[in-house]
Symmetry: C2
Subunit: 387 residues, 2 copies
């Protein structure tokens, strides 16, 4: 195991009816709250009314920023910063999915910075002071509800960049699985694939002797495998929604990567695809990840054998390590397909004409990954496998 | 899954050489530190000198309280409180095992209370304000390094009582596995059994649909099973020591019990034994726990079948659920014995003359446990099974 530091101060309030607590939690941080929302689903499911009622019960002064985009834009962040400054906001409350939470973190992190909000990304400005952020999660996917990171897009510069600060761990996150009952099938599936992909990026690693981290990662994956079928059969299966929601949070709150080298190549390789073709991130990951697995397999089959046998119950009897590994990878693909996710770029009508452009984009800042260090040519190969 | 709240703000600094960071960490909280130590092993292994060097490097004013007992006494806590008050201490730094950490928490929690420190336990006084606590762990066992609880004994009243406060999560805990290399075999084993017992108390539960919590608990248990053999073969196996240390911390930091009913009967049943006969807690648990398992089995074999098959790889083919469950329980006992732990009270020369007295003590505050609710007669039965 490698040396590590770990500190995650986010408070989780998890379960049915927990939204009622929001007013009391916000009040711990002051009297003026900026409520940040996305496209309107929080109103359709009645969540918005419950949030406002709890805030009003606690005599909080409510300001609002709605319409945060699926890939949150820095222009929205600027709007939020303006609202915070003008109204002396005490806490930013995100009500929505990962994008709404990410935008809220960016707002909270940019309020006390004198320059433009985009500098936090483009110039990598260290955030010295931030407003507290609270969240009410409505989609199991990004894990942003319990980590200090956020991603924002800039349409003018055509860039999508990430930033982070220990100051931006949400102070509290309210996770009521009921709020995910109405998430459409497609977004439920892409959320599950995103969660699985987060686990993969941390699981496949050359760091030796990390049995707890490995088994915890496998525990999340097996849970996703089993609960995904239940939630697709019955979108209002409370326990299935709860277990997937918890999986999303635990997959990216820093726990399963303690003391390990991680990879994150597939995320970068996919981002280049969705940047050029505007396909859903979860759909892109479903296509790319199994091919990444096959491509990096020559760097060590042990971890893949472990994956195949423990997560997919592959029987290794009479098979070579490589055969066992490939069987697990195949089962991963089958699972994605069973959930309705695509298996090749062709499913999105993407041909081979921009592979170089995407690979260039994916490796613009240098090589990708660590399980196998990938250069531009490697990325092109993975795209070719994905056609 | 049940509703839950979770919040654990302790920062972990884990790995070889992390002790060097202590001065810098303490300095974040002030300039005057009370260093609390136990019986002298921290000096023998050279850890004490490293700690003092780092504190001095950071120009900290150092005060000391040494000689904390294996079952820390309230008299030591009172001494610590006095030192803190007289010298206007900013942070209490525990350097040692669970007892030293528990005493340090009690000191930090009692400093701002006007009455006697024992009131925190006997009167259940709510701690409104506390000094920050930091820890440097030297024994993998209690998990006190990442939770807000502590247990203290009062020789005058012959009581051993626990207390806790969210204010007393250690601000930071430094875990260097090297500091556990010289822990004697017996204490290493009892620590491992204590950790496993903590997991059992949270794992065996009637709460339905907690797959992540279950698999994480099983991950810790399998890790203990595997790494215990390595560390007994080679006490200086860094990775084995590291994995056991991490297991101890993760077993009792609140994570594996989120959303679950827990039990804790066996701990109460054992405490009564070690209170009357002064045997080691870990040794008592090794005797009691497998018998508790057998005794509660009639309340539901499913969880035990899961335990047997996932943790002990019991092959269920052609066996009844009860047979599978009993095989896993037997393997638990065999593991404890293989590590050198006792299997019956007779191993400590304890006969049947005080079973009633102990059972009375164990149930003085009412029934015990939840997997099966145990009254005094049930506890007597478990003691009889343990003779």
């Amino acid at each position: 195991m490698n040396n590590f530091n770990f500190n995650n101060p986010t408070e989780l309030l998890f379960g049915k009816g927990k939204v009622k607590k929001v007013g009391k939690k916000v009040k711990e941080y002051g009297s003026k709250v900026l409520v940040v929302t996305g496209g309107g689903s929080v109103k359709r499911i009645g969540l918005y009314d419950k949030v406002i009622a709890s805030l009003e019960e606690n005599n909080l002064e409510i300001y609002e920023l709605s319409g945060i985009e699926p890939n949150p834009r820095v222009s929205s962040v600027r709007d939020g910063v303006k609202l915070c400054k003008e109204n002396d906001i005490d806490l930013v409350l995100a009500v929505g999915g990962g994008s709404t939470i990410d935008a809220s973190k960016a707002i909270a992190g940019a309020v006390f910075y004198d320059g433009d909000a985009w500098d936090l990304f483009a110039k990598g400005i260290i955030i010295e002071k931030a407003l507290p952020v609270g969240t009410i999660l409505t989609l199991a996917a990004t894990g942003s509800e319990m980590n200090p990171n956020f991603v924002v897009s800039n349409l003018e510069t055509e860039e999508k960049m990430g930033a982070g600060s220990p100051l931006l761990y949400p102070k509290f996150s309210i996770l009521d699985p009921v709020n995910t009952f109405t998430v459409p099938k497609e977004h439920t599936v892409y959320g599950i694939i995103d969660i699985a992909a987060h686990v993969f990026e941390q699981y496949f690693s050359h760091t030796e002797s990390t049995p707890i981290q490995d088994r915890w990662a496998e525990g999340i994956l097996v849970t996703l495998k089993e609960e995904s079928m239940k939630v697709l059969a019955n979108p209002e299966d409370y326990n299935a929604r709860a277990n997937i929601m918890l999986a999303g949070t635990m997959a990216l709150n820093g726990l399963i990567s303690i003391g390990k080298e991680t990879d994150w190549a597939s995320h970068g390789i996919e981002h280049a695809v969705s940047a050029v073709y505007d396909i859903p991130h979860g759909g892109g990951l479903a296509i790319i990840f199994p091919n990444w697995m096959k491509y990096v397999l020559d760097q060590g089959t042990d971890k893949f054998v472990q994956y195949s046998t423990r997560v997919w119950d592959v029987d290794p009897t009479g098979k070579s390590d490589k055969e066992v590994a490939l069987e697990g990878i195949e089962k991963t693909r089958e699972w994605f397909n069973k959930m309705g996710a695509p298996s090749s770029l062709a499913d999105y009508d993407i041909g081979n004409d921009k592979l170089e452009v995407m690979a260039e984009k994916a490796t613009a800042k240098g090589t990708r990954g660590s399980y196998k260090v990938l250069d531009k040519d490697d990325v092109v190969e993975i795209y070719k496998m994905s056609l």
